[in-house]
Symmetry: C2
Subunit: 391 residues, 2 copies
């Protein structure tokens, strides 16, 4: 708000800056007291430390107590740096560039990479501002971003620390911080391809994508049949935790499913969250494995080689035999069907904590069998995914 | 024969050693002339240079002209070294060790790793002799071999050159030569596991394996049905070339099939050669792929990204979408069935030369459909493979 680069419906953050002579406890308590006196309907919330969240004149307002340090690299609490960011942008972003920032933010929002929160893993507002300061204009940011390679290292001035991140933008107020640390490879790549595409053919849909085209149940069932793949829905009750806890666990859990179900050859995955459920969707090349499987044993010289021979000598369907320097047998498979296989594997495999706790309430079904219970807009996006600007 | 370490039915090699003052041509012509005068029924053959092969008193005899060089490392033709090997073994193998060599050779023959020829890729007679010279006895060779690791480097005395081979045994008459260069990782590993097994429980079947148990057609068909895998036979007319040319090409061609058919998930392969055919056998997890396939595009920043978007924007079944830093689409698959898929792929893929030439005569069929034309002993070994000593 102070920087004049907000989109419509902005959130307003107000910082109350304390001298470092206050103790942490006093700073927090006094800060909240002051905050409650100006926003009595606010409710207390907690990130690294407490703040008060409320609504004033229709705007969401956070009032955040912090320290007024001399140097942002000497911050005491996590939010002490933010006022320096505001200062930096006010000093370095020219008036005519404010609309360039707004364009960039709207573009990022349209393609789904705006926001540093865990759900998005994208570009913060401050990062958008720095990109415009660095490159001058919205179009110039896109021109550069369309060429960003696997590792991109940006700064304003003298550089700074090295980070193992797809995108690094050294914070001009603290050279040991990467402003783009939240940006995933996926979000960075999406921004790169969207930039190229926009430069090729600018369209309003980059800023305001059309909604996903919702297919009817009948069409979806016919498509599943035609593809000869197997699609499954894995449904959990929604854990009651904040998004920044929930989404990393969703992603970890999806990776676990993909890894467990490797042999069924996952083709595509998707998830969505509604009021009461988290729904994982997987399309796989098959849901049934042969009766016989290859089973790897130890290297021939290993002390367990003899034990392996003993175990399988008479029980293998084929072998033991040697490939390279290892023993193998082909043996009967215990769990041939995807559902059995997953349930068995989950006994020994930890999902994200909140999902691990709720394993007992997990439901796994063929997509076609639970389609009536699912949200057809999300199922349509899963089966017919297109970039938002292509819809 | 000269070394006294032969098994029954040995081959006899006779070397005619010429002074290096003879030209190569004279050495070869005079050598063959002398050879023909003592073995008039022999026929001329050719390895690196010509020799005369015949049968004398029921023994196969090769008469080989070569040079008598002072130092085997200064050999002029490839066979000049052999008489030095004979000399070395005669001088270094004690009388009571000759039977140890015979045991070792018979053991290797029984488990299928005796012979340096391309068909076997195993241990030459000379290598067996050196192993007994090094370790003292048959049992001692087995004790050491059962512990051989991924790379094994052996020598008698001062070592020699380094080789990138699973097994190296420096030739005591030429430290720049690896006597074990023909030994494949497979043969070495087989010898290692057989050694461990024999030490655990010595059995006559290591030397004299029982024949493969031949299954009836009915039993084989039931087994194929039960496994839920797909087995195919690929049949070529037998190329009219010597074994040392044929077998490397068979192995190369099998690797090509495995690589082409990766998506069908090969479980096991086997081949056999009869009087008129080479038969490749493959058991795979499936022979049909889904209608939809994942198709990898360029990285998002690549100059071809735009072209990829253009090509697939409206034609993909799903996407384009981004994974990591790359574009992908899920698109229709053209060749879903194994047979079509292989035939299509072979248009762009070179097999071993002799098989490449005969692609037009290639027959590929489900195993069950050509079972009546195939050798049930080999099919039985393919489907129910066991180590020879385990039969």
């Amino acid at each position: 708000m102070a920087k004049g680069t907000f989109l419509k419906d902005p959130d307003i953050d107000v910082f109350i800056r304390f001298s470092p002579s206050y103790s942490r406890k006093d700073m927090e308590n006094l800060g909240l007291e002051i905050a409650r006196s100006v926003m009595p309907d606010g409710y207390e919330s907690y990130a690294e430390h407490p703040y008060l969240r409320g609504v004033v004149n229709g705007f969401r307002v956070d009032i955040v107590p912090c320290y007024m340090v001399d140097d942002p690299s000497k911050k005491i609490s996590a939010v002490d740096r933010t006022p320096f960011h505001t200062e930096y942008v006010k000093e370095n972003l020219r008036d005519e560039q404010k609309d360039e920032v707004r364009l960039l933010k709207a573009f990022m929002k349209g393609i789904g990479v705006y926001g540093a929160e865990a759900r998005v893993e994208g570009f913060s507002g401050y990062l958008c501002e720095l990109l415009v300061i660095k490159y001058g204009s919205f179009m110039s940011v896109l021109k550069h971003a369309s060429q960003w390679k696997k590792r991109t290292y940006l700064h304003l001035g003298n550089g700074g620390a090295r980070f193992n991140a797809p995108l690094t933008f050294i914070d001009p107020v603290d050279s040991n911080r990467n402003v783009a640390s939240a940006v995933s490879e996926q979000s960075k790549s999406l921004f790169t391809i969207a930039s190229r595409e926009f430069l090729q053919e600018p369209k309003l849909t980059f800023f305001f994508p059309n909604p996903v085209k919702v297919r009817e149940e009948k069409e979806i069932l016919a498509e599943i049949e035609k593809r000869k793949t197997r699609s499954y829905a894995i449904i959990f009750p929604k854990p009651d935790v904040v998004d920044d806890v929930l989404y990393p666990q969703i992603k970890r859990t999806m990776r676990a499913f993909e890894s467990i179900l490797q042999e069924f050859i996952p083709l595509h995955t998707f998830y969505y969250v509604d009021d009461s459920h988290v729904v994982f969707l997987l399309e796989l090349e098959r849901d049934e494995l042969p009766h016989i499987m290859k089973h790897q044993g130890p290297p021939v010289w290993h002390e367990n080689a003899e034990k392996f021979m003993e175990r399988w000598r008479n029980e293998a369907l084929r072998g033991p035999y040697v490939l390279g320097n290892r023993l193998y047998v082909d043996r009967e498979r215990k769990h041939r069907y995807l559902k059995d296989y997953l349930i068995k594997a989950l006994q020994a495999y930890a999902l994200g904590k909140e999902f691990e706790k709720r394993k007992g309430d997990m439901l796994i079904e063929k997509l076609e069998d639970v389609l009536h219970r699912l949200d057809l807009k999300n199922i349509s996006e899963f089966l017919y995914f297109k970039f938002p600007w292509e819809r």
